[in-house]
């Protein structure tokens, strides 16, 4: 039997910034975008990844010994090196590591398995009018699985929200909307070529989908405010102006100050963090952007 399975990075109960009430946030794997500032790079790839936690590692070499692909090297100086092209994700190194320094990011779950997990948090959803939020990664990349899962949630009266980058074929998104109560949609840059430079894709899908979603569902736009990248008055004004045309379903714009919490994860994935020189935006700048958005008649909020 070929049962539908989803690839999930992590579940985070007691999530408090991604929808009303107390929520369980489901981080799905896979994303069509490669945003430079991405704080969860471990969710980008549609497949397993090995995370190496350098602070736990004693460089004992057991992982290298057990690796049948010769993908792990222990240099005398510096960190353990993983050749990720050679790695077949057999996870032997993870099993053998006595210091819990290696982790496999990614777990296949069926819809009932995932539902059983989130159902444990029902007592909290009930009390707080909370629910689940699909995040990631980009949940719509696994739209078949997500649709089944959301359908099950709705059958059990659980509030559903989804964060999306908006870069997805409309028919797939439309199918998910049937089971969604609230949509968070990222507007990362209003200038399409710039959007492509920063995220790897143009923004035409995003803006087009934004218009369509707003015609039927409550939507919150999110702007990850990255200094020097997309935080100009010009870009924020353009976004607010676009939002102002969305009508009543557009609830507000959330201005999410850029942070570096994900930077360490790049390192743990053996990747380079491209934005290492950028500092989080000043509080005063965030407040000015909020006022700017509000001047378009749109509600604005700093942070999620």
């Amino acid at each position: 039997m070929n049962e539908l399975k989803g690839l999930i990075y992590n579940l985070q109960p007691f999530a408090v910034h991604d929808g009303p009430g107390i929520r369980t946030l489901i981080y799905m794997k896979g994303c069509p975008l490669r945003c430079l500032w991405c704080s969860t790079p471990q969710t980008q790839k549609m497949g397993y990844e090995i995370i190496h936690i350098e602070s736990h590692c004693r460089k004992c070499g057991r992982c290298a010994e057990v690796c049948s692909n010769g993908a792990i090297m222990i240099p005398p100086e510096g960190n353990l090196m993983i050749d990720r092209k050679r790695c077949t994700y057999c996870a032997k190194c993870i099993e053998i590591c006595p210091h819990q320094a290696l982790e496999l990011a990614g777990k296949y779950m069926t819809v009932p398995e995932l539902f059983d997990e989130i159902e444990k948090d029902q007592p909290f959803f009930r009390r707080s009018n909370g629910g689940i939020t699909m995040g990631g990664g980009e949940a719509t990349m696994q739209h078949e699985f997500v649709a089944e899962f959301l359908k099950k949630c709705k059958q059990h009266y659980i509030h559903t929200a989804m964060e999306t980058c908006g870069h997805i074929a409309w028919e797939h998104l439309e199918k998910l909307l049937t089971y969604l109560d609230l949509i968070y949609l990222d507007i990362k840059h209003m200038d399409s070529p710039m959007h492509k430079t920063l995220t790897g894709v143009a923004n035409d899908f995003v803006l087009d989908n934004a218009r369509k979603v707003c015609s039927s569902h409550p939507v919150i736009f999110r702007i990850p405010v990255v200094p020097g990248i997309n935080d100009s008055y010009e870009n924020i004004s353009a976004t607010a102006k676009f939002a102002a045309a969305m009508g009543e379903n557009l609830l507000r714009i959330e201005l999410l100050p850029y942070h570096q919490f994900g930077a360490q994860t790049y390192f743990r994935l053996g990747r380079k963090y491209e934005l290492s020189g950028i500092e989080p935006p000043e509080d005063s700048h965030m407040r000015r952007l909020k006022i700017l958005v509000e001047s378009f008649g749109i509600k604005a909020q700093i942070g999620g």
């Binding site: 107390i22 390192f267 942070g303």
Partner: protein, 797 residues
């Protein structure tokens, strides 16, 4: 207080603290701790002088001598008079702490919480006080059977702690009124009845004690008048004359105003401490309930404004924080704030089952907001299914400020707990009305029937984690290399998981019996109280001190620890040895014998086995089984002052030193590492956050654990980014009520804590923060990321 916290306080607080409050608060934080020996000195001298008289009479005379003999001081700017130990930050030497005798020369210079000590006082302690009380250090006789069970010496606990006396009765009748009640009882004695004859010395003692207690106000009134006569500043002169007027009235007579009532309660609380010679868990009870009529009448009749009432409450609250228990160095290391746990409950139920929250409940929370840095009173919100949202939100706002208060006490579980006592303790059944009206907490957060319960001593701790170790060693303690438990068989030969559980069951049954015997021996020289008994129902009517069973309800305590560690260990053994068969019992035992050194693979398997606190039935049911067994065993034994014993798993900071004596465990915990803090998950093992912890703890039968178990939780302040955070925390507390967890204390992590964790990571392994997409132990993160999270905390984002 950081800038973020100050800003948050300004946002959530409804009233600015009065100038006097801030002035006193600043002053109190600067005073150095000092040893005061007035009470011990007078007690010892009187006990020597009265040798040969009945003990109750001697204790009564000693109490009277203390009340008439302690120094009477009134300090500038203060609205109340009387300090428990003569002056703010004074502490009494408690004779129970035998180790202090050896530390008198170093007490003022020791690293952890030093106390100043005068040379003259030190001499009196060495020459008069300690030599006299030596016979009370350890039980003089250990029966051979007890010795065989491993009891070599049993430390004596001379007084009962953990109770709330009937403050309300003092407010309504005055000490003199209660003295008349005792006289009346004496007059009603049937002297032809030998039982009644036995009551004479006690009732005589009560009358002597109450007569002295009624004079305390007059002593302070005289002092206040004297100071007023010399006072140049008109406003302070008026204040002193007002104090004199109040003290002439209370506590001898019924209180007429809110101010009088507050001073009266304070006097009584002080005298209860004097009689015990120590303050530990003597609590204030549901003060918002019994003080409310005075507040309401004063406001209605225009004698009091809300502002003045708040100032009175703020100043009253700060007094509780100025008395630290003086502990020997080995305990002081782990408890930097030796708080005495003056518990105050707010909110809760009325007799008819409806909510009891009133204006004072809010003002008490506001007082906590006005007095940051004060570690007392130990304020608890009694939460139940009808608790109004507004008080819950206010409580969550206080929580957000980071002081760890209020505690959340599940009133619904409390009522279940108290109602079950009559059936199981052998005592009187508790009525539903009493459970609702007098149910509250004492000390840290132990359930109690206020005003009518005996109080209890903690006695000796039963280490369930150590018993789990005994299962794996056939009774041996690896750390001290001695026999510690029963010989339950060679663990290598256990063929089924049931055999392992059976071995632990036998160890626990045996140990609880040892604990009961040790407690009985330790309580053998319990000293009767007169004043405290007189204010405990129904001691006067029964003509018997509460130490002899005079209280309406009595119970003893058997303290235990490590249920979570033992449960985690059982789950690991079940999974790895008997289900997945990844390792054998022999291999596991060998790994444990070597503290996992050279057996890191086995330790990894052990660590990855399910852990309590993650909403996982597999392990939660093991912890539930252990807790139930321990509870059932405790209730098999009677206490010497009535009722059965009850279990308690409230460890303050001692889960750290206790862990030092326990070797490696199948849970993967290394030798010497801290144990779990009450029923809180073992450090670093709860990876799913607060919701999963509440579900796990909720799976235990919390109402049956008579004297409660601590649940401490650290919370990342990231949830308070917006005001919605208060609501979300309130929702979390509603689930805490739904899930029948009985106690919860939340520490919101401050940037100061995070900075401290960077410096000494080994002390902060339990700090879990939200990162991007995952929760992580703060100490495992890279320095740059740690700095970013500190910045997030400081910015309130």
């Amino acid at each position: 207080m950081s800038d973020v916290q100050s800003a948050l306080r300004d946002r959530v607080s409804t009233m600015r603290p009065a100038a006097r409050v801030e002035k006193l608060r600043q002053r109190y934080t600067k005073i150095k701790n000092k040893v005061v020996i007035d009470v011990a000195r007078i007690l010892t001298r009187t006990m020597k002088e009265t040798e040969g008289e009945p003990l109750v009479v001697r204790r009564a005379k000693a109490f009277a001598a203390i009340v008439r003999g302690v120094p009477v001081n009134i300090y500038p700017d203060e609205l109340y008079v009387g300090w428990l130990w003569s002056e703010p930050r004074g502490s009494e030497i408690f004779i129970k702490y035998t180790d202090l005798e050896k530390e008198l020369d170093t007490i003022s210079t020791r690293k952890y919480t030093p106390f100043l000590l005068d040379d003259a006082d030190k001499r009196i302690l060495k020459e008069e006080i300690f030599p006299y009380w030596k016979k009370y250090f350890y039980s003089p006789i250990i029966p051979p059977e007890a010795k065989k069970m491993g009891i070599r010496k049993a430390p004596i606990t001379p007084v009962l702690f953990h109770y709330v006396v009937n403050y309300e009765k003092v407010l309504k009748r005055g000490i003199s009124g209660i003295k008349r009640e005792a006289e009346d009882r004496m007059a009603r004695l049937d002297l032809t009845d030998p039982d009644d004859i036995k009551k004479v010395p006690f009732l005589e003692g009560v009358i002597v004690a109450l007569e002295a207690a009624a004079e305390i106000g007059e002593r302070f009134a005289a002092k206040a008048r004297e100071l007023a006569a010399m006072e140049r500043e008109e406003k302070r002169k008026e204040e002193l004359l007002k104090i004199a007027e109040i003290c002439v009235r209370v506590p001898a007579n019924p209180a007429r105003t809110f101010y009088e009532a507050m001073q009266s309660v304070w006097f009584v609380h002080m005298m209860v401490g004097w009689e015990a010679g120590f303050h530990g868990g003597q609590s204030i009870g549901r003060a918002d309930q019994y003080l409310y009529p005075f507040y309401e009448r004063d406001i209605r009749e225009g004698r009091l404004t809300e502002e003045l009432a708040q100032e009175l409450i703020d100043c009253w609250f700060m007094r509780f924080s100025q008395m630290f228990s003086l502990l020997p160095e080995n305990e002081a290391v782990f408890m930097s704030n030796h708080t005495s746990a003056h518990h105050i409950d707010i909110g809760g139920l009325k007799a008819d089952g409806n909510d009891a929250t009133n204006a004072l409940s809010y003002m008490f929370l506001e007082a906590m907001m006005h007095t940051p840095g004060m570690v007392e009173p130990t304020i608890g919100l009694l939460v139940h299914s009808k608790t109004p949202e507004r008080i819950l939100i206010k409580a969550c706002q206080l929580t957000a400020l980071g002081g760890g208060y209020p505690q959340f006490i599940n009133n619904d579980v409390l009522v279940d707990n108290l109602l079950s006592r009559g059936a199981t303790s052998g005592g009187k059944p508790v009525s539903l009305e009493d459970a609702r009206t007098f149910g509250g907490c004492v000390g840290c957060h132990e359930p109690s029937l206020h005003t009518m319960e005996s109080g209890w001593t903690v006695g000796q701790n039963q280490h369930l984690a150590a018993l789990m170790e005994c299962v794996m060693t056939n009774g041996w303690c690896r750390v001290h290399n001695t026999r510690r438990g029963l010989e339950t068989g060679d663990p290598g030969q256990f063929k089924t998981f049931e055999e392992v559980r059976e071995a632990l069951r036998k160890q626990i049954i045996h140990r609880m019996k040892v604990g009961a015997i040790a407690a009985n021996l330790g309580e053998e020289l319990l000293q009767p109280t007169l004043f405290t008994s007189a204010l405990t129902e129904d001691c006067i009517e029964n003509g018997t001190p509460r130490e002899e069973g005079g209280a309406r309800y009595s119970l003893g305590a058997v303290s235990f620890d490590g249920a979570v560690d033992a449960g985690n260990s059982l789950a690991a053994v079940k999974k790895l040895v008997f289900e997945e068969k990844k390792i054998t019992m022999e291999q596991l035992c060998t790994a444990l014998d070597h503290n996992f050194k050279g057996y890191e693979d086995i330790r990894k398997l052990c660590l990855e086995a399910p852990k309590f606190g993650n909403d996982n039935d597999y392990v939660d049911e093991q912890v539930a089984w252990i807790t139930h067994l321990t509870t059932e065993e405790a209730k098999k034994y009677l206490s010497r002052y009535g009722g059965t014993k009850y279990p308690i798993q409230v460890l303050l900071s001692s889960f750290v030193p206790l862990g030092m004596g326990v070797g490696a465990l199948p849970s993967g915990r290394l030798a010497g590492e801290p144990l779990s803090d009450g029923v809180s998950p073992t450090v670093g093992s709860d990876t799913k956050g607060p919701t999963a912890v509440l579900k796990s703890v909720g799976r235990l039968n919390n109402a049956e654990v008579g004297l409660s178990q601590t649940l401490n939780m650290k919370l990342d302040p990231v949830i308070f980014t917006t005001d919605e955070g208060f609501k979300r925390l309130a929702d979390l507390i509603r689930v805490f009520v739904d899930q029948k967890v009985d106690h919860l204390q939340i520490n919101v992590v401050s940037s100061d804590t995070l900075i401290a964790a960077q410096k000494t990571p080994e002390h902060y392994k339990d700090l879990v923060v939200k990162v991007a997409g995952y929760n992580a132990r703060f100490v495992d993160l890279h320095k740059d990321l740690q700095d970013s999270i500190i910045a997030r905390t400081e910015h309130g984002l």
